[in-house]
């Protein structure tokens, strides 16, 4: 199973760009990298997904180097409402060879200060 490692917490200020890096040394060839955001008392919410190089949407950018052993979520000009836990997910094949399993790491708690 592909295991992910992220910083436990990060602090930032409104208007700054935040970059959260995730390590996934054992990523498999067919795995995609997905990032989720979770606010207290809510389920995780999909932010962005990528396979290689760079992906950008209206919320964030995802940078993936050629070896795909890490990825960086970039949040431009954060606001107080971006305070949340961010999870990096890498897909893993079930041990029995059946289902595709999303496996969550510990996540990064981002606190945005005024």
């Amino acid at each position: 199973l592909a295991k992910t490692t992220q910083p436990i917490s990060m602090d930032s200020y409104e208007g700054q760009e935040v970059n959260i890096t995730c390590s996934h040394n054992n990523i498999a060839t067919n795995d995609y990298i997905t990032w989720y955001q979770q606010f207290p008392s809510q389920g995780p919410r999909f932010i962005i997904q990528g396979y290689k190089t760079k992906v950008t949407n209206e919320v964030a950018s995802l940078f993936i180097p050629a070896d795909r052993k890490s990825s960086t979520l970039s949040l431009p000009r954060v606001s107080l409402s971006d305070t949340a836990v961010y999870y990096c997910l890498v897909g893993a094949q079930h041990a029995s060879g059946g289902s595709y399993i999303p496996t969550f790491g510990r996540g990064t708690s981002l606190i945005v200060h005024p």
């Binding site: 997905t34 997904q49 997910l89 059946g98 999303p102 496996t103």
Partner: protein, 114 residues
């Protein structure tokens, strides 16, 4: 993306009793999963709900404690049986319509066992 209705949103239960959590999706989905999130922790996968067959449980979770049903492609239930205070947690339903499309999570069921 799919929209999930998860019920109940919260409950307080007596130890020794059972609670059934429902997950209803507004469209047919390929995969359905059940997660547990203990206070301040990340999400832990309980099982994959398989349509028309027995669920696939992760290590540490057993069918007698967490029976799961999935009678069709839009609905699943998770029962927490013979509850103890250690079962106090948030239980989340998640679905996907394919690995490239990410996962959608319900808002969760906050369970407190007293």
């Amino acid at each position: 993306s799919a929209v999930i209705s998860q019920k109940p949103s919260r409950d307080i239960c007596q130890r020794g009793t059972s609670l059934t959590i429902q997950c209803q999706v507004d469209s047919q989905v390929t995969m359905m999963f059940w997660y547990r999130q203990q206070p301040g922790q990340s999400l832990t996968l309980i099982a994959t709900a398989n349509q028309g067959s027995e669920a696939t449980y992760e290590s540490g979770f057993v069918i007698d404690k967490f029976p799961i049903s999935r009678p069709n492609l839009t609905f699943s239930t998770l029962t927490v049986s013979n509850m103890s205070p250690e079962d106090s947690s948030i239980y989340l339903c998640s679905v996907t319509q394919g690995r490239r499309y990410g996962y959608t999570f319900g808002s969760g069921t906050r369970l407190t066992v007293v």
